[in-house]
Subunit: 139 residues, 2 copies
């Protein structure tokens, strides 16, 4: 009986964990607010944005850059085909949005050899870079 | 014995689900690339960024704005205390990053009564707005 009781206890714990886990999973898509993060959003204006070879090199470089461990999430983008409005800037060539857990992770990223290599090997390609770093509103 | 066998079967299924669920949860943080999305990133420069009442009104308005159904994820931010560098713009007052599933969702958002109300009731507060819309690199 002891064994069975132990099994039942373990099963109960498992059921509890399963319920908890499935709740968290279901909650995921509706967890709209992103918080406790630092968003590092970089916009690049290339000197020759129409040059296919330049674009290939730059995209390859961006994909290597985002392998840095400290990155939580990232998005490599290009201007979306949204409506042309005065406030919307579609003039940049590439967008790189990186999400960090905190400022410390961003500091490590900035000094990471892969990041330094990215800048060194590609800075000749861009005419302008613009960066916006955003922390949570409550911070 | 049938009952116990049934219980054991159910327990096995539960254990399986729990393992699966916990695997998915663990896998979540390593799902670094965000794709099949449209990032709508807005930066606001308020006329009176130091005015506490203005900030309260604006933050309340932003929190109402992000209740729009079409939004997949959002982040309401302020400039992070990252290093002052020439390329980093810390001069804005608020950042609003909104993630949509696609351009269609963004189009609905733009015309949504809650969005129109947000602009109408708060545009007198800002001196400048800058918007960048980014689609996936492969699009």
């Amino acid at each position: 009986m002891v064994n069975r009781r132990t099994f039942l206890k373990k099963a109960a714990v498992t059921i509890g964990l399963a319920a908890l886990a499935s709740h968290s999973l279901k909650a995921q898509p509706s967890m709209k607010p992103l918080s406790n993060i630092l968003i590092h959003h970089v916009y690049f204006w290339l000197k020759n944005p129409e040059d296919k070879e330049v674009r290939e090199q730059f995209e390859k470089a961006l994909k290597k850059l985002v392998t840095i461990d400290e990155i939580r999430n990232y998005h490599i983008g290009v201007p979306a085909s949204t409506e042309e409005r005065e406030v919307v800037d579609h003039s940049y060539s590439y967008s790189l949005m990186v999400i960090f857990e905190n400022k410390r992770a961003q500091d490590i990223y900035q000094k990471h050899p892969t990041h330094l290599e990215f800048v060194e090997q590609n800075e000749n390609l861009w005419a302008k870079v613009k960066v916006y770093d955003s922390a949570d509103i409550s911070n």
